[in-house]
């Protein structure tokens, strides 16, 4: 009996530890963003951000086999799908980096320009351009046949100087 008591407590304790250890899932990689973005006063979109609808008129028009279909229009952001023969081949987007200035920082390392505006490649599918140090224009491939060259061509089809005057 004495022996049993001696072993029982540590046994139960280790069992408890084991159970609690298994029970708690590892924290998500997005936990930090979750915490920061739910603090009082936290905002993802700045009050000063330009309304998405303001950006629409600077998007490229549908042309020769391509159709531009507007998809999202939120504060500080507008996006359209670029379609060829009914299939999505790319996304076209304009966003106001006043909400997330770190997005504009990557252009400091830019070595390339389109119409005088700095251009950077991002990941495997995106090419971005910054207008007036504030508005980010991005083309994102949704079809492997839509190449980096195509992305640059379509960046140049936005009315970039018009967008620059929006500031």
């Amino acid at each position: 009996m004495f022996r049993l008591k001696k072993f029982l407590a540590p046994l139960l304790l280790s069992l408890l530890l084991l159970i609690t250890a298994c029970d708690s899932a590892p924290p998500s990689d997005f936990q930090q963003a979750q915490q920061e973005s739910t603090q009082r006063g936290a905002r993802a979109v700045d009050r000063e951000a330009v309304a998405g609808g303001e950006f629409n008129k600077f998007f490229p028009r549908s042309q020769a086999g391509y159709e531009v279909v507007y998809a999202q229009e939120k504060k500080g952001f507008a996006e359209a799908k670029l379609k060829r023969e009914g299939r999505d081949v790319a996304m076209l987007a304009v966003s106001d980096t006043v909400s997330n200035p770190e997005a504009a920082q990557k252009f400091a390392n830019s070595t390339e320009q389109i119409q005088g505006y700095p251009v950077v490649a991002q990941g495997n599918t995106a090419t971005a351009l910054l207008v007036a140090d504030r508005f980010q224009v991005k083309v994102l491939s949704r079809d492997p046949e839509f190449t980096e060259g195509d992305r640059k061509t379509w960046l140049g089809k936005f009315d970039l100087s018009g967008l620059a005057r929006l500031k």
Binding site: S28, D29, F30, Q31, Q32, A33, Q34, E36, S37, T38, A42, R43, A44, V45, G52, V69, A71, Q72, E73, K74, K75, G76, F77, E79, K81, M91, A93, S95, S99, N100, A103, Q122, G123, N124, T125, A126, Q136, K138, L140, S141, R142
Partner: protein, 295 residues
């Protein structure tokens, strides 16, 4: 506080009764829906990016956007969840031990109360209105912009099109029959604002429906149905859909008696949450599309 978006997407089931039913509707839109689950997985699939740092940046921005209440994503998620919430004891628990075997509908008959056509019509219309309102919240279009919504229906694909297919099949064709459009229009015409107000789902979501009183909200519901009925009729005609075709594709996992379609409809309503499931997938996709374009 509401659940983080990454948890909602990570916790989407890979295979449960809802997923089985949706797979059973693959014949309606062949190959269009795959059950995409997991937050990082969704980021990879939507963006085509694989770099861990980039996925982290995209996910972080999506989390921030979702948590900014002014952006409307949480409201849209709440609508998808609320219009689909079952208050029945016959839910996941009762079906949990049935995964992998056929569900004998007859065994559940005593737990099921079929809905009257009027209640079913309200259900159908409220789900439709939630689609309109959630679409506008997610994509940033004014909440009563039916024209924009109807135009975009033509461009629906993936999980959004599956949600609409399930709406037509499970909440219209099976409970109301092949002439569901005329039937629902008739029912809506007879419906009084008072009757609408006594509906539990309506009470929960009424603040999100355009209109400053029940009569105006009923008008909006009617307008929504009218604007979408052409699309629904075309959808059924183009695919030659009938209640029998739909049920025969569900018999792989539910034992169905043809004369008990109203019971089947009520059973599916009580045992699935396809609006919440596919709504979460749609919202995650749009959020990630925005996040990757903004970072």
């Amino acid at each position: 506080m509401s659940k983080p978006i990454f948890e909602l997407v990570d916790e989407l089931p890979t295979d449960n009764f809802t997923v089985k039913v949706l797979r059973g509707l693959d014949f309606v839109i062949p190959g269009q829906w795959n059950n995409l689950v997991g937050f990082k997985n969704t980021i990879r699939e939507v963006t085509g990016e694989t770099d861990a740092d980039l996925i982290q940046q995209i996910g972080d921005r999506a989390v921030w956007l979702y948590n900014d209440k002014s952006q409307g994503y949480q409201r849209a998620m709440w609508l998808y969840q609320t219009v689909d919430r079952t208050d029945s004891a016959l839910g996941a628990a009762a079906l949990a031990n049935k995964v992998g075997e056929k569900v004998p509908l007859l065994g559940f008959l005593s737990n099921i109360t079929p809905k009257a056509d009027k209640a079913q019509t309200i259900d159908l219309c409220l789900k439709l209105v939630v689609e309109v309102v959630a679409f506008c919240q997610i994509n940033g279009i004014p909440g009563d912009s039916l024209g924009d919504f109807v135009r975009s229906l033509a461009d629906y694909g993936g999980e959004s099109l599956m949600r609409m297919s399930a709406l037509v099949c499970l909440d219209a064709l099976i409970p109301l029959g092949p002439d569901f459009i005329q039937k629902a229009q008739g029912m809506l015409g007879d419906l009084s604002p008072k009757e609408l107000e006594s509906n539990g789902t309506f009470s929960s979501i009424k603040d999100s429906i355009p209109g400053n009183n029940a009569a105006k909200k009923l008008d909006f519901i009617g307008q929504s149905f009218d604007s979408v009925q052409g699309w629904m009729g075309g959808f059924v005609r183009d695919r030659d859909l009938t209640p029998q075709k739909v049920t025969s594709n569900l018999t792989r996992f539910v034992e169905i008696a043809d004369d008990k379609l109203d019971y089947l409809a009520a059973f599916l309503d009580m045992s699935t949450n396809y609006y919440e499931h596919t709504g979460t997938q749609t919202l995650a996709r749009r959020l990630i599309e925005r996040a990757v374009a903004e970072i």
